[in-house]
Subunit: 124 residues, 2 copies
């Protein structure tokens, strides 16, 4: 299988994501990485980071795609919800809250995307 490499583009992008308080879009990453690499490279690095399970992809309520660094503390999982603030437009991971749903048994659930929209504590 393919051998991964640590490049400046990759480490920069991952650092920006780790230092970010909220999930970032491709466009936001483009400005925050400050020309360290091409637009296309950001797409490709993000794809790799998601595959390597270092970053997860979040789809916000309005369809925008954002990326957040996974915090690999304790029991890491992608099964958490996201909060989308209408005021400051940030998308944050809320790891503590687990949603409960009951689907009939003929559905096979593989993953979910749960985004709550409203006003966050900071803006409230």
């Amino acid at each position: 299988m393919k051998q991964f490499r640590n490049t400046t583009a990759k480490t920069t992008i991952l650092n920006v994501l780790k230092n970010a308080e909220a999930a970032l879009s491709h466009a936001e990453l483009l400005t925050l990485t400050n020309g360290v690499c091409d637009r296309v490279t950001i797409y490709r690095v993000l794809e790799r980071l998601v595959n390597e399970d270092n970053v997860h992809k979040v789809v916000t309520s309005d369809g925008t795609i954002k990326y957040a660094a996974c915090n690999h503390t304790a029991h890491h999982s992608h099964d958490h919800i996201h909060f989308n603030c209408e005021k400051c437009k940030t998308t944050t991971c809320i790891e503590m809250v687990k949603p409960v749903i009951q689907l009939s048994k003929d559905y096979t659930v593989k993953s979910f995307n749960f985004t709550v929209t409203g006003i966050c504590p900071k803006c409230n």
Copy 2:
């Protein structure tokens, strides 16, 4: 305020959505309406239909935006989940199932988008 009008484009689009078994994307609507109106008109009609509360907008797990006719039976609400089948690629509304979450009180929840991905009963 603005007065709405019933046009062929609008009624056609709404009918296509009502007859559809799953939520439809803009591209799907473009082919299904069979040239009844321009690409741009579909965007504008969909916007109106959403504002009039006749259609609701669904963001699928992969970020695709789809539209579904609201069924105004009994107690209508947009607070339901959507199921995204990996096999047949359909997005369907599941009105019966209500998700349960407990967010701390400093969050103001206005709406949510809950999309579950997996295999639907038909494909299972």
